[in-house]
């Protein structure tokens, strides 16, 4: 189980989150802070995971509230929503940089990938019939190191990894 990935005290994170909410002119509420904490602790978490994390450490929060929070935060640009094919919606605290994601076909784990080609990678599609493009979203599909090793070692031993659900969506 992954701990907080950056070595930042929780209080400071909390204060930062509060400031981010205020800067975005959003009201500071317990559910919103809890959602942001959850996403800070577990990047790329899906909605169910967020709900579980929020409920794990705080008082009861309705699933609807979590959905509302995620929508509000996404609309405000504080949270980024990603949804690889075959997966439910996942969220991450937006870092503001332009990074992409690598998704493991076997276990569904998601890893951040820095832009391969400089800062703005594949944003230059050659005039796609009048389209005005403002964002390029890149998803790399493959096998994570763990699942790859498991596949190499033996074929009858199914790969297990972290707490991410198995992903069967993609061929």
């Amino acid at each position: 189980m992954a701990e907080t990935e950056h070595a930042v005290p929780t209080e400071h994170v909390h204060l930062t989150h509060e400031g981010m909410l205020r800067a975005a002119q959003l009201r500071v509420t317990r559910p919103r802070l809890a959602v942001m904490d959850a996403l800070h602790e577990r990047p790329h978490a899906d909605t169910g995971t967020v709900i579980a994390l929020v409920r794990g450490r705080h008082t009861n929060v309705s699933h609807q509230a979590v959905y509302d929070c995620l929508h509000a935060l996404t609309d405000a640009g504080l949270v980024r929503r990603i949804q690889p094919s075959g997966s439910t919606a996942r969220y991450e605290l937006r870092v503001g940089d332009n990074h992409h994601h690598a998704v493991c076909r076997s276990c569904g784990s998601i890893t951040d990938v820095d832009c391969a080609v400089g800062s703005v990678p594949c944003l230059h599609a050659d005039d796609p019939q009048g389209f005005t493009i403002d964002e390029a979203e890149v998803v790399y599909w493959g096998l994570c190191s763990v699942c790859q090793d498991a596949a190499d070692d033996s074929q009858d031993q199914s790969p297990t990894r972290t707490t991410q659900p198995t992903m069967e969506g993609r061929r």
Copy 2:
């Protein structure tokens, strides 16, 4: 309503589809041919559209059969499944080339985009922590020419376009 986009007689297309099924060692059934016809006529159609098209010109086909066909065809590599964030699954007859998609934030229409950087574009992520990447999927987000014009002209006139449903998923 768009006609068949390539000037190929339907019979030939049908024969081609049958051959593709046999080559993939799949049984040739009416529902499968109907699904392939539907995708040939309407690329990037979602499941509901495929069901409607199949039922429109053929006898009753259960929705379950359409799902099974799409899965079988996807597994066999004859059909490619795409799922932009906020949209349901969409399918297209696989051309075998490595092309990407541009999705309109306003009307949800999808346009094919040829690879910007040569034949295999963004496949080289710089060693994403041991990931073995076999495919890079790129989705360009923006506005199609129609919705762009509509936005430029007047703001109170909502853009209308083809028969694609409105897309509200993405910010």
